[in-house]
Symmetry: D2
Subunit: 181 residues, 4 copies
């Protein structure tokens, strides 16, 4: 399986981006399959920019998505809903033709400092992805209390590690089934 990893946070030390690296390691994927949105410098979507030409970095990102068999997205929740940064990426990629963000198995994950939040943002993130025709895995991995949840070696709580592995493995089977379809 060829996975591609996308973060909804631009922060250099983002715990959501860290979670993607942990997922890539678990799945034996190279770090090069993790999008670095900071380096890509994707602009805010504008129909005027699009009329001149979809930016090269959007095209580059769209190609990575197209070549992947499945996507794993980790994103913070901002204001009870989707990260504006992530939504902007989705809005741009949805304009590339042929549109690559469809019929992809997608796993959503969220790390957040509070105990409650994270999961509400993921529910809002399902909507554009499912609307575009992707297979968003029903189970979503969300982890609260983030500042205490990690240390240098990974999850502090073995139960979190186990749940993380179970979710990734379940998603792997789901993706394989749909890719063979």
């Amino acid at each position: 399986m060829k996975y591609f990893f996308l973060s909804g946070s631009l922060r250099k030390d983002s715990l959501n981006t860290k979670l993607l690296h942990m997922a890539a390691q678990h799945l034996n994927c190279p770090n090069s399959d993790i999008a670095n949105l900071n380096d890509l410098s994707i602009p805010l979507y504008s129909g005027d920019i699009e009329a001149v030409g979809i930016p090269d970095n959007v095209q580059k990102l769209a190609k990575c998505i197209d070549q992947a068999q499945a996507l794993i997205i980790a994103t913070p929740e901002y204001n009870y809903s989707i990260s504006g940064v992530l939504k902007n990426v989705i809005d741009w990629v949805s304009r590339v033709r042929p549109m690559p963000l469809k019929q992809k198995p997608i796993l959503l994950m969220a790390v957040s400092p509070s105990q409650i939040s994270g999961i509400r943002g993921l529910w809002q993130t399902r909507i554009p992805l499912e609307g575009l025709g992707n297979y968003v895995y029903p189970e979503m991995f969300s982890l609260g209390g983030s500042f205490q949840a990690f240390d240098d070696k990974g999850f502090v709580n073995p139960d979190d590690q186990k749940r993380f592995a179970t979710t990734l493995d379940g998603f792997g089977k789901f993706s394989q089934a749909l890719v063979r379809k």
Copy 2:
């Protein structure tokens, strides 16, 4: 009543921005109360930028919102949900202290080329705004078939003009009631 107007589109000839100008005219507001997001060049939200300092233009926009008694937002629907551009603005403004985007009466409007869409995006736009504690007017003005709906003098269909005026007037009473509270 002091209104402030915000568009979810960066396109220069955006019909949503045009709708805001029509609303400002109906309410006898100066065009200077319509945010020009292109001139403000607000970056994509990043915790790293925030750590250095919230950008001046975000502060400037936050001040305009703070000084307004009510907001009118017109926004396209992208991919069945909120415009990433608009969500990014909300995410930034929610980081300013004191946070200005609360207890504001807000009217949502959408113009879209298709007959169906527009309204679904507005429903997703309610969530961050209500989550932050704003009073989003239950009635929302959405107008499909946009390329045929306007000419130089405004709405082609008098029924659209009437519905537009009724919505704005109803929102005006709602806002006044809540501002006097």
Copy 3:
């Protein structure tokens, strides 16, 4: 202010119904303004029943809603979304003419055994109520860990009592402003 109280649970010892009684007491309302859905025996909505005639008890409930100036609804979350029992009541009442469930200030509350849930159900409950044109208060009162949260004298934790009172008082001002409108 004349309030009417509606529970999304049919359980006799429902903590959500208990919360309504506590709210009625705080607001000095008689218990008779709390709907007893068990006694009303409202059927599942069917267009065939409606064609014969909207049931008397639906009419009775609709009249109570019509005569109230504001509504307070407490409801469990079932399966990440609205209680089917509550949705069925809304579906029936929306068929009565003149339709009483519009332009009403509404406060939503939820008690739940888990720490996380409750609030997700309330977000889904906003949709039909706002779609019908009601003014749903942005702040919602949700209380997790319900089995430990109450005793015979009310909230165990004084912070919960304080938050409850603040929410009800804020909603009172919101309602009064909109009723005077």
Copy 4:
């Protein structure tokens, strides 16, 4: 593939139920696999009823769902969201142990008299089903203008018939892939 069909409408001449019969015919399924909620007389969910014992007809319905490999649900939209009747069925079935409504491929369909509505209700219907862990097909079949859309022989417009067949066939492949998993 063994499908089970569920309608969100209790109306005898429901067009949503009619759509299920058309789907069953297309997929060569017997009509006995279409739930008749009127005959089942499932009560409104109450924890008090559950404490005495989950009703036999809920158990019977749960068994049908358990034995099916995939579900097809057609439901009206009521008040911009899920049908209370359908939500009540989901709430009951989610209480049966072992809980059968998980990891099922599910197709959602809606017929509605208006041009716009139907699809908004389906989006709200996804939430409890996905929350319970089911694989809801991203594409949803919604058909507006229902009173003109059917005659005795089926769809009036061949394009609707084609879209219906394409959706069902796509869902069939999706289901087969996930069942083999």
